[in-house]
Every structure is written in structure tokens, then in C-alpha cells.
């Protein structure tokens, strides 16, 4: 899921990565709306809110929204910086894992803070929402960078548009047999479904686990990180087994 880069990625790689990251984004978004009354997986609305607050002369609220937008931007930028500067210096798996690790740390920080230190003050809310937006920026930057902008998982505006275009294109027979279009449709659909399922699970999980839902998100993200590690382990194990067999046959 994480090892392969750009055009070397298969549709299955993208569906797995897109599905799981969209699932975690859906979870984070719903949990943050419940706890903080703020969306954290997308910034589209915040641009409008920023303009609205400025027009109303609410400088403080405007600055808070600008701070959040910038944190999302810095998260995405940092992700791509790590990927492009890590290329050739570190293995692709390690390079692509660093943004994911930073994302897990950010979400874990929010979970731990909510569990042990949160006093429901506005300042804390603003910082914690910022941390979640930073994490979502990291995630979106990571998935978009390694998939050549094919996979974007934290916001569904562009994705819904693409999906609508594809649905209309499928009214033509020739497009229904076009492998590329069908693959793209499957990818977009899996992202949408995963995002909604993540949101649903988060809502249910919050009713049972409360703030610990953020730990569940971290566990979901760990699956992405460890999946390739597990795959590499399997390949290595198979290689050693075959090597031993060939050695025993020759002797």
C-alpha cells in the first residue's frame, strides 16, 4: 500500500490505501464534530467561514479559521516535502511511513489530551482541532503524493464531481468497457463508501468508547503502516523457504 510510488501502483493498491485512509478520515471528522463542533477532514467550508468572519468583523474567529487552514496546508506540504526529499536517501516504505507516523502521533496526542487533560476551554478546542486538521493534511498530502493525485481521501467535493462525471459517461456503451474509467469508478466508490462507514463507526464508537475513539483511528492507521511490513515479511519467509528447499535438493 505504501511502498509503491506513482505509476507503479496498481488499482488494488490505490483501493486499499484510499479505502482505509478514507475510513479513518470519516472517523476523525465525525468524532471531531461530536467533541468540538468542528469539521476536521476538509477545509473547503473554512475558506467560506473565514471570509464570512472577516466580513462580520470577527477578527479573532477569522484568525482561528485561518490558523486551521494553514495547519492543514502545512500538514500536506510537510508530507510531500518528506516524500520528495526522502526519495533516494531512505527506502520508499520508510519515507512514505513517516507522514503516517506523524499523523498517528497527532491523533494520539488529541486522544490522550482529551482523556487526561481536557477542561473544555475554547483555547484547548482550537489547538486540538488544529492538530486534527494538521493530521488530515498529512494524510491527504501522503495519499495524493504517492498515488500521483489519484487518491484523495479527506474531502469528497472533487470526488463527488468525478463520480458524477463517470456516472454520466457510463451512459455511453464504449465507456462502460473502458478499463481505466471502470477502475477509477471502483476507486472513487470505495473511497465514498469507506468514508461514510468510518463516520458511522465513529458515531457508534463514540457512544461506547467516548474520547477513546481517537485510539481506534490510530489502530486503523497502523494497519496501513504494518500492511506492507507484513507483506515484506511473507515474501522474505517464502524466499527463505524456497532457498532452503533448493539447498536440500542439491545436497
Amino acid at each position: 500500500m505504501l511502498r509503491k510510488y506513482s505509476n507503479h501502483r496498481t488499482i488494488q493498491d490505490n483501493i486499499k490505501l484510499g479505502g482505509i485512509t478514507a475510513f479513518s478520515a470519516g472517523m476523525v471528522n465525525v468524532a471531531s464534530v461530536i467533541v468540538f463542533f468542528s469539521f476536521t477532514s476538509n477545509v473547503t467550508g473554512y475558506y467560506a467561514v473565514f471570509a464570512q468572519e472577516m466580513a462580520k468583523g470577527n477578527w479573532y474567529q477569522g484568525a482561528v479559521v485561518l490558523f486551521w487552514i494553514l495547519l492543514f496546508l502545512i500538514g500536506s506540504m510537510l508530507s510531500n516535502l518528506i516524500i520528495i526529499h526522502g526519495k533516494g536517501r531512505l527506502s520508499s516504505y520508510l519515507t512514505h511511513s513517516i507522514p503516517l507516523i506523524l499523523e498517528i502521533i497527532s491523533i494520539l496526542f488529541v486522544g490522550i489530551y482529551l482523556d487526561f487533560f481536557y477542561e473544555d476551554s475554547l483555547k484547548e478546542t482550537e489547538v486540538l482541532v488544529g492538530a486534527l486538521l494538521f493530521a488530515m493534511g498529512l494524510q491527504n498530502g501522503l495519499t495524493a503524493s504517492i498515488s500521483n493525485s489519484v487518491v484523495k481521501t479527506t474531502h469528497l467535493t472533487g470526488l463527488t464531481t468525478d463520480l458524477a462525471i463517470l456516472i454520466s459517461m457510463f451512459t455511453k456503451e464504449s465507456n462502460r468497457t473502458n478499463r481505466l474509467l471502470v477502475d477509477k469508478f471502483h476507486l472513487l466508490l470505495s473511497i465514498v463508501i469507506a468514508y461514510v462507514l468510518g463516520g458511522l463507526l465513529s458515531g457508534i464508537s463514540f457512544a461506547i468508547l467516548s474520547n477513546k475513539t481517537f485510539y481506534v483511528v490510530c489502530a486503523v492507521l497502523l494497519i496501513i503502516g504494518l500492511y506492507d511490513h507484513y507483506k515484506l515479511y511473507l515474501v522474505k519467509k517464502q524466499f527463505v523457504k524456497r532457498h532452503r528447499q533448493s539447498v536440500s535438493l542439491t545436497s
Partner: protein, 178 residues
């Protein structure tokens, strides 16, 4: 010449060097980030603005759902108002008193400190809780040094949104009522 460090002359037009533009992105980003952080840290916080006594100026209909009887901007009848805040004793005498101590935000009502207030989101949601259970939430439409406008969802005789206008002050009236 010094301007040639930053600019190029291309097809008779002056253009900024791309290297300079790339650096400018980082300068602009840092400027915005520090600016926003400084404003959040040092500008008057909505929590501080909300503290103190607020006197009700009026309850009005902001949005009404298909009702021929109730119209937007019309004053809400006392009876509907009383019903809307029947579960909120600290707000029933027309004075909203938001207190803040080091570890607790509470809505003062006689000697009671049972109702706590919290601001959520970017400071645009006012939550009132009792024993840590949500009792009511308002959307803050305007919060300035002397005026507070809140929106409250009504779901009683008519579905709609109430606009509650409050004015800062009224300490004497509050003292009288107590």
C-alpha cells in the same frame, strides 16, 4: 543593478525570478501563520467577552417554517419564550450572568452554580450543561463588548429559529432581582 537580483526582463516585461517567488511562498506562509497565531493568543478571547451580565433586549423570530401566524423578525410571544427556556432557570429572569473562576465556568443564578457554560468550535457555539449533561446549545451570531446575539432552534408551536438579543450590563437590575 540591485533589481536584477529579483527580476528578469523577458520579452520586454519585468518578471520576478522563480527562485525568489518560491522563497516568497515560505515568507508569506510564515507571516500568515505567525499573524494568525499571534491574533489567537493576544486578541480578546470570546470567553472573556462573554463573561459578565447580559440583559435580554428581546426575542425575535429569525426563521419560521411555513407558518402563517409567525413571521420573521416578529417578537416572540412571552409564552413561547418561557417554554423555550423552561429547562433553564438561570435564564428565566431576563438576565444572563456568565461567571468564570479558575476551574469553572458557570451561569450564576442566586447562589446556584449548577449550570456550566462552554464555548465550542471557533467560539460560535454556546453550550449550557448541568452535571456535565448538555441542556441547551445556542449559536452565537454576534458577540461584541456590548452586544450578544444568539440563535436558538425552536421546536414547539412552530418550527423555526429564535434570535435572542442581549445587551451587556444591567448589574443594578440583576442585583435588584436577586
Amino acid at each position: 543593478m540591485s533589481w536584477q537580483i529579483y527580476f528578469l526582463k523577458r520579452n520586454g516585461m519585468l518578471t520576478i525570478k522563480r527562485k525568489i517567488l518560491a522563497r516568497f511562498n515560505f515568507v508569506l506562509l510564515s507571516f500568515l501563520l505567525f499573524g494568525a497565531t499571534a491574533m489567537v493568543m493576544f486578541y480578546e478571547n470570546p470567553e472573556r467577552l462573554l463573561e459578565g451580565e447580559w440583559e435580554e433586549q428581546g426575542w425575535y423570530f429569525e426563521k419560521v417554517e411555513k407558518s402563517p401566524t409567525f413571521k420573521r423578525q416578529t417578537i416572540i410571544h412571552e409564552q413561547i419564550k418561557d417554554e423555550a427556556i423552561a429547562h433553564l432557570p438561570p435564564l428565566q429572569d431576563g438576565m444572563w450572568h456568565f461567571e468564570r473562576t479558575r476551574d469553572k465556568n458557570f451561569v450564576a443564578h442566586h447562589q446556584s452554580q449548577q449550570y456550566n457554560w462552554f464555548l465550542k468550535g471557533r467560539g460560535h457555539i454556546l453550550e449550557l450543561r448541568k452535571d456535565n449533561e448538555l441542556v441547551e446549545s445556542f449559536i452565537i451570531q454576534k458577540l461584541s463588548k456590548d452586544q450578544l446575539i444568539l440563535h436558538l432552534n425552536l421546536d414547539m408551536q412552530t418550527r423555526g429559529i429564535a434570535r435572542i438579543v442581549l445587551k451587556k450590563g444591567g448589574k443594578e437590575k440583576y442585583a435588584e432581582k436577586i
